[in-house]
Amino acid sequence: MRELTYNEAALEAIAEEMRRDPKIFYMSTDALPPLLKEFGEQRVKATPITEAAFTGIGIGAAGCGFRPIVDWRQVTFCFVAMDQIVNQAAKIHYMFGGQVTFPMLFRASVGGGGLVAAQHSQSPYSMFMNVAGLKMFLPSTPYDMKGLIKTAIRDNNPVISFESSRLMGRRGPVPDEDYTIPLGQADVKREGSDVTVVALAWLVHEALAAAEELAKEGISVEIVDPRTLVPLDKDTIRSSVRKTGRLVIADEAGPTAGFSAEVAAVVTEDAATFARLKAPVKRVCALQVPIPYSPVLENAVFPDRNRIIAGIREVLDAKQPAAA
C-alpha cells in the first residue's frame, strides 16, 4: 500500500471532502499552500490573527448552511477563542433546541517534543472533553487521521481534530480508495494477554516499542488506541481490561483531571471490569507542570517507552488490591 505522512493524510482527507462538497471552506492564519492552490482564495481563507473572530465566523457560517474548517494551527492559539468554543460552538445546537446544525471541523496540533516551551507544547484535550457538546479525536497513524477527518467533516456537530505535532512527518499506509472511520471506535493496535496499555497518539508508538521489548521476556501487552476522545469507546477499553486484568494508561498530558483519569474511572466504575482487576491502575503521564524549554527539563517531564515499561512492570508486580 502507498504511504503518506500523518500531515499529508489530513490534507488529503480535507481536499477530497472539499472536492465532494462545495459547502466546505477553510480558514486559518496563513492559507495552506496546497489547499489554496487547488481551491482558491474564496474557499481557503487567510485570516488576520483573530482566532476568536474566525472561530465565531465559522459558527455563524455553519448555522447558515456551510461546513467550515477552522484551523487554529496549534491548540495554544485557540485559547483566545475560548468563549466561542465553550459558550457558543459547544452549546448552540442544544440551547436553541436543536433547530439547526453547526457542522464544523476544528484543527489543533498538540503535544511537546519541539523544545518550544510552555505556551507551545500543550496537550489540553481534557479541558475540551469536559465541555458537553464537542466531539474530538486524536489519531496515532496516517490511516486513522484520514478516516477520522473525513467522518468529522461529514458529522453535523463541531468536532475537534487534535493532531500530534510529534507525528506530523511520520509515514504510514493509507489506501487509495475512499474510507471513513467512525467516531467512538477504538482500535486494538496490538493484542496481548498480560496487561492492557491505553495510549494516545505518539505514545501508541512508544507503547508498541515497549511491548516489543517486553515480549522478549514473555510479557504479552495489549495496546488499545481510543482514537476518539469524545465519544469514548468504553466497551473496547473495558473488554480489554477484563481480559488482561491490568491497566496502564499512557498520555502526553498531565494526569490531573485528564484523559487518563477518565479512562481509569471508566474501568473502575464498571463492576464487571473492576472485579477482574489484578492490580491498581497505573498512569504514565507528563508531570503536572507547564512544559519547560531546556532539553534536560523537557525530557524529565514527558513519558516515553521506558516509563511505559516501568509502569507495566509495576502493575505486573503489584498485588491484587483486595489481597493487599
Binding site: A46, P48, I49, Q119, H120, P292, Y293, L297, A300, V301
Partner: protein, 325 residues
C-alpha cells in the same frame, strides 16, 4: 536619506552600539540554532533594530516594556544582560528563566522588561496593566507595548487602546509594521494600510514613522513619553520596517516574500543609515567604528562562553516554580 537629531554624538554612538549588539547577537543565535546548540524556535529581529533602540532610548530605567515572540531586540535595547540571555537560549540554569523559557520567553522584570511572549497580542493587555500600575504609583512612569502588524488585528489591541484612552493611561503602543504576519502579507489582512490610522477611533494620536530611521523613532517616542508622563494618555506609533530573515530560523521554513522586496529593504539598513549619518557629521571614523564593533563582539563572545560554561538544569528542577512559595 539623511537622518536628523539633536541627540549628543555619544548618545548616537551608543544607539549604534546597541543596534549592532542586537544584530550580532541574532546572527550568532541563528548560527548556533542551526548548529543545534539552541533549540525550539528563534525569531530574528534583524532589520528592525532601530525600532527597539529608538524607543528604549527615550525611556528611563523605571519605565516598563513588553515584547513579542521576536524579543531579543527589545531585551537588549532595555539593557538586558547578554550573558543571561545567551544562557537562556542555550537552555542553561544561569539563563534568565533558568532554562524554562528559551528565545520566545526572555524576561527581566528588574529592568522593566516584562517578557517576550509566544502568543500574538498576548502582551498588549499585560503591559497595559503595567501602564495602570504606573498611573497608580504616581511617579511618572510609562509603559510601552511592542507588537507586530499581525497583532494589531487582534482583539486585545483594540480593547486596550480604548481602555488606555478612556483611563488616560501612560502608555505607548509601538506597532512594528514589518508588512507580514508569518507568511501572510499585511495587505491581505488589513482593511487600511496604516495601523496608526486606527488611533483616531480611540481619540488618541496615531503617528507613522520610518522604522528604519532610529532618530525618527526616537523623536516620536520622546513626544509620546512626554505626553504620557504629563497625564496626556496613550499614543500609537506605527514604525514601518521590515524583517530581513524568514519568520523563524527553522530549517526549511518557506519565505514566500519577493526577493527583490527583501533586497530593497536591505538597502535601507537602519544600522548602515546611522553609521553613515555619524560619519557625515564627522562623529565616527574607521577606528571609532572598529572600537564599537570590537566591544560588541567581545561582549558577545563572553556571553557565548558564559552560556557554554553554564550547567544544564537538573531534571528535578522541572517541578520548581510551578507555584510561588
Amino acid at each position: 536619506m539623511a537622518l536628523s537629531t539633536n541627540l549628543s554624538p555619544d548618545k548616537q554612538r551608543e544607539m549604534l552600539r546597541q543596534m549592532l549588539t542586537i544584530r550580532r547577537f541574532e546572527e550568532r543565535a541563528s548560527a548556533d540554532y542551526l548548529a543545534g546548540k539552541i533549540y525550539g524556535v528563534v525569531h530574528c529581529y534583524i532589520g528592525e533594530e532601530a525600532v527597539a533602540v529608538g524607543v528604549c532610548t527615550a525611556l528611563g530605567g523605571n519605565d516598563r516594556i513588553i515584547s513579542t515572540h521576536r524579543g531579543h531586540g527589545h531585551c537588549i535595547a532595555k539593557g538586558a544582560d547578554l550573558n543571561r540571555m545567551m544562557a537562556e537560549l542555550y537552555g542553561r540554569q544561569t539563563g534568565y528563566c533558568k532554562g524554562k523559557g528559551g528565545s520566545m520567553h526572555i524576561a527581566d522584570f528588574g529592568i522593566g522588561m516584562l517578557g517576550a511572549n509566544g502568543i500574538v497580542a498576548g502582551g498588549i493587555s499585560i503591559v497595559t496593566g503595567a501602564g495602570l500600575a504606573a498611573q497608580m504609583e504616581g511617579k511618572g512612569g510609562v509603559a510601552v507595548s511592542f507588537f507586530g502588524d499581525g497583532a494589531s488585528n487582534a482583539g486585545p489591541f483594540h480593547e486596550c487602546l480604548n481602555i488606555a484612552a478612556a483611563w488616560k493611561l501612560p502608555m505607548i503602543y509601538v506597532c512594528e509594521n514589518n508588512m507580514y504576519a508569518a507568511q501572510t502579507a499585511a495587505a491581505q489582512t488589513h482593511a487600511l494600510p496604516d495601523v496608526a490610522a486606527r488611533a483616531a477611533g480611540y481619540g488618541i494620536p496615531g503617528i507613522v514613522v520610518d522604522g528604519n530611521d532610529v532618530f525618527a523613532v526616537h523623536q516620536a517616542a520622546s513626544g509620546a513619553v512626554d505626553r504620557a508622563r504629563s497625564g496626556g494618555g496613550p499614543t500609537l506609533i506605527e514604525c514601518k520596517t521590515y524583517r530581513w530573515r524568514a519568520h523563524t530560523e527553522r530549517k526549511g521554513q518557506p519565505d514566500p516574500r519577493d526577493q527583490a522586496e527583501v533586497e530593497a529593504w536591505k538597502r535601507k539598513d537602519p544600522i548602515a543609515l546611522l553609521e553613515r549619518q555619524l560619519r557625515d557629521q564627522g562623529e565616527l571614523d574607521d577606528p571609532g567604528l572598529r572600537a564599537i564593533e570590537g566591544g560588541v563582539m567581545s561582549a558577545l563572545e563572553a556571553a557565548v562562553a558564559f552560556a557554554e560554561a553554564s550547567p544544564f538544569p537538573l531534571p528535578e528542577q522541572a517541578t520548581d516554580d510551578v507555584f510561588a512559595a
